[in-house]
Symmetry: C2
Subunit: 398 residues, 2 copies
């Protein structure tokens, strides 16, 4: 039946000018990007009238200058490591998406094409793909935050089998937080959180867990276009049309936990609760975990934006502030006294937030508070945060 | 806290070249599209080296030729009716997306920018916006289809309040099917189904209902990128890498109903089940409803691809085939004998599938089977399908 209708619609549409009417899009006849068997990647763009075309992306440092033949520009990379890569074209100096590649992710207000290189099963690229494994469900739900005075959206991953009729099991929960400019979509799009968890759980490398991805910007309710503030253009700065937040993310965090623990079959208690986040979300993790000692048994700071005391005071280092701030010291002491199973810090060697993270480690060392540390190559980029999730999530709830 | 981190990250990122590293995207400094107070719309594109720039979209018939000033091209439309509109730019003859507009929808393999014009509360454009009303949840779930031998994905909308802890109510279910080339994402993106239901339910114009949006292509499991076939480019034709489907959509439909009725708090029985779909999904609705008389109390054909007998035989009209095909006649008679509350047909006056729908109406008239009919302006386009959903969903479960 399906094939019959497909054929009818296809034939009729081609001859009736339907595509023009409907912007249906028949796709481009050229293939781009093409991931070659040797793991080089070829980009192609049809642009007969262009003067200069280049491809820019996180697979190499400089632009790839594309060469034209019969109106089609192309460029082939060096051999690439298994990974998810982002790229765009620069046509006559203006940034443009690849019309032949349907795969795109949004970061703040910008869409960027992506592709995934994977050499073999179990390599890093393959963790970001939808493989032949049981899949979890991903829901966008709304919860009330009385602390913020808002109804807010979040994304919740439940692992494969959670919804099976006969399943009465309770699951541990990972709270997974995005960075500034992101929203409740970031970890399931750029972060590949559902694919990573599906694949690690199927391989027996991570425990089945629920993953809760709230919106960390406390003066908004949801991602752009998904709430009543209208179809605003998201940005890093605070949109003056939005209300001033009534509270901070860490203050409001119990609203999220209360929602999750009342509606899902979860195991309660610190040994079944983990929290981690990237950049601003790493800051939220840092603040929330010390504000509520004993709430989380596993705490992960991914390239975390760590602030102590007055962030505007640049006359002192973060370490100096830590050594002076008795409230900070008391909160951290109470948190470690509650005995978290893991305090984990990951950061890239060129990350601009590394100094604060170095200071935190120095302070923890000086107090003898235990933590694990991973220093990766690179900077403040999604590649690192995906890697940190694959490392951190394996350590949870064992 | 949020503002503090935002400011830190913003300042540090701007001065550290982070955006180049991360393709974060700071957005364009120009506004496009701008919806003016008089409901005209202005498009703008920065393209200093371009020779010709036009905007094409479903808001007018021909291209809007853009004029350049200081490297920025612009065009302003006539006054537009409240509606969701799709558009792209044509730069030097090549199609390009609007880099200043974060709002895009995918149709098959093509992304297109969109915007929504809304004049006042309750107009058609406003039904497609996220307004200050309670919102339902939207989940992507996986179900087993033994009939197809596949684990498959679908999208499920549960209305506001469904998940409240104290709520024990059971809800009716609308099964909402996409067209050829679409997938389980189509109705919540281009179709604005969640916004339409949120707004109609909040206004008391539609009953609270669960909406189930399965994938209608029986040889695939899920939307592109969401299943293990890899990152293929979707198309209207059958991808030779996919397995031949083991059964048709209508044959496999009970697998979907079984999943939904076992996992959600639903009211069972025909008076609490509705089915509708567009184009191929209208064909699936037509086939499924007559294959299972008494399963659905409400049946809606939206620009339906109706086939009876051998679709390749063009020597006879659909009406002639209906008058000859005793299996079709028996199925339809059994379905109407079961007393559906509504058999609804909607189609555009210029739709290429109108002849088959005219024939179906003639046949129904000849037998005295009751139905409701809506003929709208325009053709085989999403605008009509959104309109049909707003009309049809109001008639359900009263």
């Amino acid at each position: 039946m399906k094939r019959i209708f497909t054929t009818i619609v296809l034939l009729t549409a081609v001859t009736s000018g339907l595509s023009a009417q409907q912007a249906l899009g028949w796709g481009e006849s050229i293939v781009s990007p093409e991931i070659n068997p040797d793991r080089t990647v070829t980009f192609r763009l049809r642009a007969p009238k262009a003067v200069t075309v280049a491809v820019v992306g996180d697979f190499q440092d400089g632009p790839g200058i594309m060469k034209e033949e019969a109106g089609v520009w192309s460029y082939t990379t060096e051999k690439l490591e298994p990974e998810l890569y982002l790229y765009s074209f620069i046509v006559n100096g203006s940034r443009q998406l690849d019309p032949a590649n349907v795969y795109m992710s949004r970061d703040v207000a910008t869409w960027t094409n992506y592709f995934i290189v994977s050499g073999e099963e179990g390599d890093r690229g393959s963790l970001y793909l939808d493989n032949k494994v049981p899949h979890g469900d991903v829901a966008r739900v709304w919860y009330d935050s009385p602390t913020l005075g808002l109804s807010r959206k979040m994304t919740i991953y439940t692992p494969a089998g959670y919804s099976a009729v006969s399943n009465k099991a309770r699951y541990p929960v990972l709270y997974l937080l995005h960075g500034a400019g992101g929203d409740e979509e970031a970890w399931v799009t750029l972060g590949r959180a559902a694919e990573i968890l599906d694949n690690l759980i199927a391989a027996g490398k991570a425990e089945p867990m629920i993953v809760v991805m709230p919106n960390g910007n406390t003066n908004t309710s949801a991602a752009p276009g998904a709430w009543s503030a209208g179809m605003y253009q998201p940005s890093f700065g605070r949109d003056p049309r939005f209300p001033e937040a009534k509270a901070t993310m860490d203050e409001s965090f119990p609203d999220i936990v209360r929602y999750v623990e009342s509606r899902y079959r979860v195991r309660k208690g610190a040994e079944s609760r983990a929290i981690c986040g990237l950049s601003m979300g790493g800051g939220h993790t840092f603040m929330t975990s010390k504000r509520y000692p004993g709430m989380f048994g596993y705490i992960g700071l991914f390239s975390a934006a760590i602030t102590v005391g007055n962030w505007q005071d640049r006359s002192k280092s973060t370490l100096e502030k830590m050594n002076e701030d008795t409230e900070f010291q008391q909160q951290m002491a109470a948190m470690f006294a509650a005995g978290p199973r893991l305090y984990w810090i990951g950061i890239g060697e060129t990350d601009f937030l590394k100094p604060q993270n170095d200071d935190l480690r120095s302070w923890l060392d000086s107090k003898g508070f235990p933590y694990e540390y991973l220093e990766s190559s690179g900077g403040h980029v999604w590649r690192n945060w995906r890697i940190y999730l694959t490392v951190f999530s394996r350590k949870l709830f064992k």
